[in-house]
């Protein structure tokens, strides 16, 4: 049913408050949804000398974004930064399934019902589509705004190289390797986290992030559930009640006034239902998406702390090894070099990590503020709209009676 879908978009920073910098501006100007993949048109405007042109576009797919993200993670030089979280995979399966089911059941419902449902499902599909575009865009914008990551060579290739990057998704073996890597990492993470940090700032951050991440996870799940039940409530059922009654009246030769009454009421509920759908959609965008994003960001921050913790442990181990070597007076030079490397690595990470975590807090507070304000404003707008519809309908109905 949905062969492909293309949407024109304006740049937006959904959940992140980013300074737009004239030296490098990145956005996704167009997107195409084909049967099993989404093609993003990444558009760059830059005054940097690194690029051949000042403005250009390329087409990228999701796997290429992941490749870029992973290249950051694996780069030791970036160990001291919060790597912007990778965008989640575009997932239209549920939506596509619903549309397919609708197509199959076309014969069993009236034309009007069918068109209405089709519109609703298409709107849902479109909303998911826009969301995935936004998340991919935010990832690129974060990278472009980061003083160090924006200079990354892979990033420039990603932006400029107008051929396919020939990045394939991971095969089964690689996925399995990843899985084990993660298991090892989380076990190690627990060990590392257990080591008390001398630095108060980092000790506080560690405790804070651990708790915060868990709570955001819970809030994200609960907000999803709440919004899902919001979508399925109420006026649809009541609408059906009234339409039944109305239909009954149409089959009898009922007085005109009665027909009009029910007509007005069912029209009212049709309108309020649309508003309710928007309320759910706005809550989804401003609340649920916000929480989901910070779930991923707080994980990235935790990863940074883990890397620093790892470096600290390595440093302390290197110190112990050096003491041992000095005591035994064997391989001292080796131990000294090793210790110096560890020290250097640790200090480098610590320095940038501190700033990264402070920036993270600033970004987080700004994003929450923006979204909470917008959420409240939208809720107010919809409630007022609903109220106005209800009151005007009531005055008409009461005037008639």
């Amino acid at each position: 049913m949905m062969g492909y879908l293309s949407v024109s978009l304006q740049p937006r920073a959904v959940n992140v408050d980013l300074q737009t910098d004239a030296t490098l501006q990145v956005d996704i100007s167009d997107a195409l949804s084909e049967r099993d993949k989404v093609k993003f048109t990444v558009h760059t405007k830059s005054t940097l000398p690194n690029f051949k042109q000042s403005e250009f576009s390329v087409v990228r797919q999701h796997e290429e974004f992941i490749w870029l993200h992973d290249s950051f993670v694996e780069n030791e030089d970036y160990a001291g930064y919060i790597i912007p979280p990778a965008p989640p995979r575009p997932d239209f399966d549920a939506s596509r399934e619903k549309l397919q089911k609708l197509g199959e059941g076309e014969g069993s419902m009236t034309k009007e019902e069918f068109t209405k449902m089709k519109q609703e499902l298409e709107a849902e599909y479109l909303a998911i589509f826009k969301k995935t575009v936004a998340m991919h865009e935010v990832f690129l914008c974060r990278v472009a705004a980061h003083p160090v990551l924006r200079k990354d060579l892979n990033f420039h290739v990603f932006l400029e190289y107008n051929q396919d990057l020939s990045v394939r998704g991971k095969n089964k073996k690689e996925k399995l390797e990843d899985f084990f890597k993660n298991v090892v990492k989380s076990a190690d993470g627990v060990l590392v986290a257990g080591v008390k940090d001398v630095d108060d700032f980092f000790e506080h951050e560690k405790t804070f992030l651990l708790e915060y991440h868990n709570r955001v996870k819970d809030a994200s799940a609960k907000s999803d559930r709440m919004i899902r039940s919001h979508k399925s409530t109420h006026t649809t059922a009541l609408l059906r009640i009234l339409l039944h009654h109305y239909a009954y009246y149409c089959t009898t030769t009922a007085p005109l006034r009665i027909l009009l009454f029910f007509l007005k009421v069912s029209e009212l509920f049709e309108k309020t239902r649309k508003i309710e759908a928007r309320v759910a959609a706005d809550e989804d965008l401003k609340l649920a998406d916000l929480l989901k994003y910070y779930l991923r960001e707080s994980q990235a921050a935790k990863d940074l702390l883990y890397r620093r913790g790892r470096a600290l442990v390595d440093y302390e181990n290197a110190n112990k090894a050096l003491d041992k070597a000095r005591a035994k007076n064997r391989d001292v030079l080796q131990a000294e070099t090793s210790q110096q490397l560890c020290c250097h690595k640790f200090e480098k990470i610590s320095e940038s990590a501190k700033q990264e975590l402070i920036d993270f807090k600033t970004r987080r507070v700004a994003a929450f503020r923006k979204n909470l304000v917008e959420l409240a404003e939208l809720e107010l707008k919809h409630a007022k709209g609903n109220l106005q519809l209800l009151q005007s309908c009531l005055s008409v109905l009461k005037g008639d009676t």
């Binding site: 093609k39 009640i241 009234l242 029209e267 503020r369 409240a376 409630a383």
Partner: protein, 510 residues
């Protein structure tokens, strides 16, 4: 790659663009639909003999048309219009109501009331939608202890109708009193075609809880539901112009002492007898094959069958609606708690406070959802239940008509047989037997005539009752829908209050 902008249709615009102040819904005009009537098919309008009324259809005049009015039109429609229109209707010559209606408050009063003219007079006195009697059932009080305990309700009547001795008075009644009233009215009026409103249902389980003294949520709800049902029952009863004047009704409302209605007990011999009679009736109904000469009745019976099915379906829909809303309420409460936890762990003070405020708002909204679910349930579910029972009463009245017809037919057949027998007797030489036969025939002829009159009377009464019923039904549903809309208005107003309080907190985050 195509850089062309392809804008999605406005309905599906990016939701964030809403912030630009775009209004995707034009504000509804004050009365947009009233231009509609002109385009509606004229078939909906009955070919009424009242010419001028037909023209006023296309004005904004609040006129009702009764498509069902057929041969009754010339006699009754003027009175009906007085009942229906809420303002002076130019097409109708106003009828001056009689200054008083003398109601004989004696035993066989109903004979008088069944004559056509007095019924019209009674209708005239009601006049318009301002029905001048209001009954409230309140202050449920438990009297007594243990299994003999019962609930006493205060019944307060406020009226300016002359048929009552005072303008405002109250009495204490118990549930069985209501049932007793209904059973008296049913025995007097059902078999002549009046739709007597059914009393609220007995509930052995519910009542036992109350008797035993369980003071919990469910028994409070039960008492409240019952109180409300009793009030609706009384109001429906007095809205009926004939029932209102019935001495039993008046006695019920006015006299401080009422003889205990014993035969209404669920597990009494009278109760069992009633059940047996009901079963017998059902069997009888199946064997009566009536020769329906009047298409109106056939059509109406079919409609009521349909309506019955409809209402039961709607009842089920309301239940699912209430379920959904309760689920939403639960999920909102869970989210509120989660948001509070998140606020606690947030180390930026202003944001932490804002998140806690958000949690509070969501908690309040959860309460709103719950209250709304209750409103949905009470308003609609109870109404639908009432109507399912009322339809049963309506069907009963149609059955009585069939029985009346059967009686008439039976006497006719008997008369025929007697006539044949008399003819035979003419050829025998038995003068006293002949005389006896002639006497019997005369008696039977009277009976047949009476049977025909009864049948015509009940048919006429039913027509009136049905149109009254349909009017009442519409009024009831309309008033419930309006109440429901008002409850929705309140919900939205509360929502606005909550979010308006929250907004400055969100803006205060720095």
């Amino acid at each position: 790659m195509a850089d062309t902008a392809r804008d999605p249709p406005p309905e599906q615009t990016d939701f964030q663009e809403l912030e630009d102040g775009e209004d995707l819904f034009p504000e509804p005009a004050a009365a947009p639909e009233q231009s509609g009537p002109a385009s509606l098919p004229a078939e909906d309008v009955s070919t009424n003999s009242n010419g001028p009324k037909q023209d006023s259809l296309f004005d904004d005049d609040p006129e009702d048309l009764f498509a069902e009015a057929t041969e009754e039109v010339s006699l009754d429609s003027p009175e009906r219009d007085v009942l229906l229109s809420d303002g002076p209707s130019p097409a109708i010559t106003p009828i001056t109501p009689p200054t008083s209606v003398i109601t004989p408050r004696i035993g066989h009063a109903h004979d008088d009331m069944f004559t056509h003219s007095s019924f019209d007079e009674i209708e005239e006195e009601e006049g318009g939608d301002s029905f001048d009697i209001h009954i409230a059932v309140s202050d449920p009080e438990k009297v007594g202890d243990g299994m003999n305990a019962y609930m006493a309700y205060k019944v307060t009547t406020k009226t300016s109708l002359s048929v009552f001795k005072q303008g405002e008075f109250s009495v204490k009644r118990r549930f069985s009193d209501f049932l007793g009233l209904h059973s008296k009215l049913a025995s007097k009026y059902l078999h002549v075609g009046y739709i007597v409103p059914p009393a609220p249902e007995k509930s052995i389980v519910g009542m036992t809880k109350v008797k035993v003294g369980k003071e919990d949520q469910s028994s409070n709800e039960f008492v409240e539901k019952r109180r409300s049902a009793l009030e609706r029952y009384l109001m429906r009863t007095v809205k009926h112009p004939v029932l209102l004047k019935d001495p039993d009704v008046l006695q019920f409302l006015e006299s401080s002492e009422l003889p205990r209605a014993v035969s209404t007990q669920a597990l009494s011999s009278a109760g069992l007898l009633r059940m047996v009679n009901k079963a017998a009736d059902a069997v009888n109904k199946m064997t009566i094959k009536m020769n329906e000469s009047d298409a109106w009745f056939e059509e109406k019976q079919q409609q009521f069958e349909n309506l019955d099915i409809q209402l039961r379906k709607l009842h089920a829909s309301v239940e699912s609606l209430v379920c959904h809303r309760k689920e939403l309420s639960v999920n909102t409460a869970l989210f509120a708690k989660s948001a509070a936890m998140l606020g606690n762990s947030e180390d930026h003070t202003a944001l932490s406070r804002a998140l806690s405020q958000l949690a509070e708002v969501e908690e309040k909204i959860d309460q709103l959802h719950q209250d709304q679910a209750n409103a949905d349930f009470y308003l609609f579910s109870e109404l639908l239940g009432d109507y399912v029972r009322l339809i049963t009463a309506v069907k009963g009245v149609f059955d009585h008509r069939m029985k009346t017809w059967q009686k008439w037919q039976d006497s006719q057949m008997l008369l025929q047989k007697k006539r044949e027998a008399e003819a035979k007797l003419q050829f025998t030489n038995k003068p006293d037997k002949l005389q006896q036969a002639k006497d019997e025939i005369k008696e039977l002829e009277g009976k047949v005539q009476q049977g025909e009159r009864d049948f015509e009377q009940i048919s006429k009464t039913i027509r009136k009752e049905v149109s009254r019923f349909e009017k009442e039904r519409v009024k009831d549903f309309k008033s419930v829908i309006i109440k429901y809309l008002e409850s929705l208005v309140q919900t939205q107003q509360q929502l606005i209050k909550y979010w308006e309080a929250f907004l400055p907190e969100a803006k205060a985050i720095s």
